[in-house]
Symmetry: C3
Subunit: 433 residues, 3 copies
């Protein structure tokens, strides 16, 4: 490792503002109200549950959540997940990392709480993070008319219209927010969908997004079949497994149509299997499968050449497949490093692949997936460090190889490239055009 070169690059990357193209930050409460909201982030509760060796139910109360994870923190030392918490502690709370091991719990909690309760806290998090834009995750029936902060970009998460349609009472909620009878017919349903997309388009949505299980294939579904399934939903009936997948196929196609209509991107989040580990804490029960390929999307991607499809994968094994989708397809944009694939080893591999073979306008650098604004900066810093390692290596290779073998890469060009993939590409690729 070239210490100086990596240091220089990392220092430069830290000076860049942040555009975070995918988060779960609540628009009306971007920051935590309690340290328990941060330590209650599923990354900590699931690791605490995992490391204790026996499953224990997660309590609801924020103080109790702190107690839930606290005794297990020493076992989490050195992980990237815990490093994010330590980044928050050092940067926003001004509590040095070492204090977590040398001071009693109540002291850490009360020092953190004091900062959080300060009136300028949200402002300070924004400023120290240098965040200029944060894309949100919003349900189809959320009312975002009061959201005026232009830094926060609404994004329509459609899982409750797709795989969760039955359990999430889609029809009922759709009717409530559109004042239509969406379950009456496909025609009426389409009208409701159109109202939802029009509203989000008016709110200048970043994209529509959907999470899909490993190896999902979008199959053609006849209108008649879809109509019957819609009827079941309207009647409050459950779906069996086959019906669930059929409805999902139908809806993914319908959503792509809507995205085409309003000229918004459709973000495919591929590969997570929900609710697999039954003793897990909330959001800590999901896994993936190493044999989940992306070829089930071929038909969809071919059918909607006018729609941009930013695409993220939760598995490492689909990494190169995703790169090659972005390589040959004009409408697929590899999107950052997601969840289980968002670890330094896998980040480095994918970043290097993308930098080496993709047009530089075809992929999005990073997103935090954070549930509150505090996580954005530390998670970007993890990525920035790995990006610095990769670009430093590319600089070194270019110095050795000569211009007849590789593009001579300078520090300036590397910083420009980082800016391109982290700041410019989200702007160019995402949003209603």
């Amino acid at each position: 490792m070239n210490h100086d070169l990596v240091s220089t690059l990392f220092r430069e990357f830290r000076k860049l503002p942040i555009c975070d193209p995918h988060t779960h930050v609540p628009w009306d409460k971007p920051c935590a109200l309690h340290l328990g909201d941060l330590l209650g982030y599923h990354y900590y509760t699931e690791l605490a549950n995992s490391s204790r060796g026996e499953p224990v139910k997660l309590p609801d109360d924020p103080d109790e959540r702190i107690d839930y994870v606290w005794p297990h923190l020493p076992k989490l030392r050195g992980t990237v997940q815990f490093d994010w918490m330590m980044g928050i502690s050092e940067i926003f709370f001004e509590i040095p990392r070492g204090d977590w091991w040398s001071k009693p719990k109540h002291e850490i909690v009360s020092r953190a709480q004091k900062v959080i309760r300060d009136g300028s806290y949200v402002q300070r998090v924004f400023e120290r993070s240098n965040v200029t834009k944060v894309y949100l995750t919003n349900q189809f029936d959320e009312d975002l008319s009061r959201l005026k902060d232009r830094r926060l970009v609404p994004c329509l998460r459609t899982d409750d219209l797709v795989f969760n349609a039955a359990t999430a009472k889609m029809v009922e909620r759709l009717d409530a927010c559109t004042k239509l009878k969406s379950g009456k017919s496909l025609k009426e349903f389409d009208k409701a969908l159109t109202m939802v997309f029009d509203r989000f388009a008016e709110w200048k949505m970043g994209y529509a997004a959907v999470g899909l299980p490993p190896g999902f294939a979008v199959e053609p579904v006849k209108a008649k079949v879809a109509e019957k399934l819609l009827k079941r939903l309207a009647d409050g009936k459950k779906f069996d497994r086959e019906q669930k997948f059929t409805w999902a196929s139908f809806m993914v196609d319908r959503l792509a149509q809507q995205c085409a209509r309003v000229n918004a991107p459709f973000c495919l989040m591929a590969g997570a299997d929900r609710g697999v580990y039954e003793h897990g804490v909330p959001a800590g029960q999901d896994l993936f499968s190493c044999d989940g390929n992306l070829r089930g999307y071929d038909g969809l991607l071919n059918k909607y050449p006018q729609v941009r499809f930013p695409m993220m994968v939760v598995s490492d094994t689909a990494g190169l497949e995703l790169v090659t989708e972005g390589w040959i397809r004009h409408n697929v944009y590899p999107f950052s490093h997601w969840w289980y694939a968002n670890n330094p080893e896998d980040i480095r591999r994918e970043v290097r692949r993308r930098l080496d073979v993709l047009p530089r306008n075809k992929f999005i650098g990073f997103h935090s997936d954070g549930y509150s604004l505090e996580f954005v900066l530390p998670k970007f810093n993890t990525f920035r460090l790995q990006l610095a390692l990769v670009l430093s290596q590319k600089i070194e290779e270019s110095r050795i190889a000569g211009s007849d073998v590789t593009e001579p890469l300078t520090v300036e060009a590397a910083v420009a490239l980082a800016e391109k993939i982290m700041l410019k590409n989200p702007d160019e690729i995402l949003g209603v055009k």
Copy 2:
């Protein structure tokens, strides 16, 4: 690469004692009796068979085995497998590596034989390896009552109860060692199984273990169905493919029950397909499949939350899947680097992933899989070097990043971490509790 840092770490790691949590070392003959026992290790015979370009049957005689591999050794130079032999040669035989190329075969053999035949040989191998504990591989009907050396930990390998039940004459052997009629009924069979597990528990077993093919799924099996299959086994009949898998599903569940009963871990060794290459030498006929996922174990892992499941995979593609199992599940412990995945490139990747995202008590560093004690040290040294590379990189990253981004990692902390995963975790995770 930071030469000094890697050197320092590697030097420190070499000073550590070794706990080897999975081997095939025979308890009553831990070391080789002949150089042909070492050069007859399947890693050498299979590579010799492979490199000669035409299949040749492996002879039984140790001297002939040496002749079998000897002419092909130059083509194996520089491989890790051959490095292990060279480690044995230099450390235990005091034959420098160079002599293998400059001296005649008979001289190497006779110098090695002289050392092996020395009365203090086993003692010397133990001492120079600094081995404090070695987990064994034992059949269900082995009599270990004379095993008094507490460094050697019995482990119940159950393949002959599971996939090999028919071919390995399970019922016959079970009856012989329990004096029961295990094939009479499931009830009687369970009694026999209970006797086996009680005996191994009394012998302070490390764990029960089973090897399972790529993509294996543990399916629920009705008692009636299992009873019929047991009858077939009792009658000495063969299984067809479906019956084989049904029996295996039944038995894996039964073994998990026994592990729960005696509070022993159940080690799952996932992904090897046996007997694929028909021209191969013994133990050199097995392959894996890159699409073998781990999701077939979901039901089993959920059903027995009280059982610890150390888990190893033979493929690289299931590596991150295994990491995420250990990440969210409280009862899965990623176990070392196995067989085809036990090569420097894949070791580095998996170690880095595990260190970055797993609680430090959730995985086991390394095992040798050695067939005799001599292989333990050289194989650990291969791992130690790769671990030094990974931890050196983490130290360097932490120096660049600052404490608001990564845990500051010192040499001392890195050595403690190595000790934790190689020495403490096997003790904490394995064994009857």
Copy 3:
């Protein structure tokens, strides 16, 4: 990275002559006649199509092809694909890389054209590349009797006999070139095949080769079934999907028989799915699937122990599987780094794995896959740089570890190893013996 060590190795590798064991170079027109032939290489047209965000049909005219890619080149800067073009520009055209950004298009084109039209151009490309041998891709009905340049080695590409049999009018073409009625019966068909192989054997073929889709399995096909399919082909009928796969299984086996008969290797190119992206440019429509394993070849590889099977994979996920095939099987030879897997990140991983665990005579270092001779050198240089990185790391590791842990690796030994895998192994493994 050890700058000096990598530089030294890379410099030494650049001095080596090149044997390129797989290309699409036309024997009668090895070099481009127009810059548009080079910028029309599918790597540039597909990236241009991809980066523009909307599909545009590729024109036929070489000048228009230049226009097609030209505006998108800035987005391709820094990719390895574009580096190959820049290598051609600097080495053969003597146009510095920087001129592409600072000079007008017409100037670049006319300077390149001037060089290309020079009578000594082909000679110069050969000399500067230091190419001693280039393996070609030839159709079964090509007449190579006028090919006298011994540097160019014919190779029989059999896709038109296998998966494309119906669409590529196999029977008709076979009849035309053999003067037989190959569609009359299997016996007659075998005669025709024998004539084809005899002719290629006489031309001193390098190998027969076939491209097969992800997860393809060679299944036994009864003669009667094959005979019926042959009849369909003779009648000019199409195949359905199942018939296509059945015929392919039959033919792969038949081709292996022929290879056995004339003692030529049978090169398996596994994993590319053709025509997936319907808006793509020619040769820019193909993808792979991350779950495509190699186990469907088990039967074939076992059945023909006397045939050498060099094997390449287009996916990253089958990389270690391929390594283990080469590890235990005497007749499988991992062959270079192909297409999507031919990027620096994946090259480094596979090279390291192969160097660490395979006999050094069991794999082939690199091939260019180039469509004209100019691409050979720049593509080899990309590989040479990554090989230098890997071998430099191995040298450094050996310096740290000591001879009781790893083979001491010197620069001289590393260069010899590079020569072995890039120059000697192709000669030893390929060709009619």
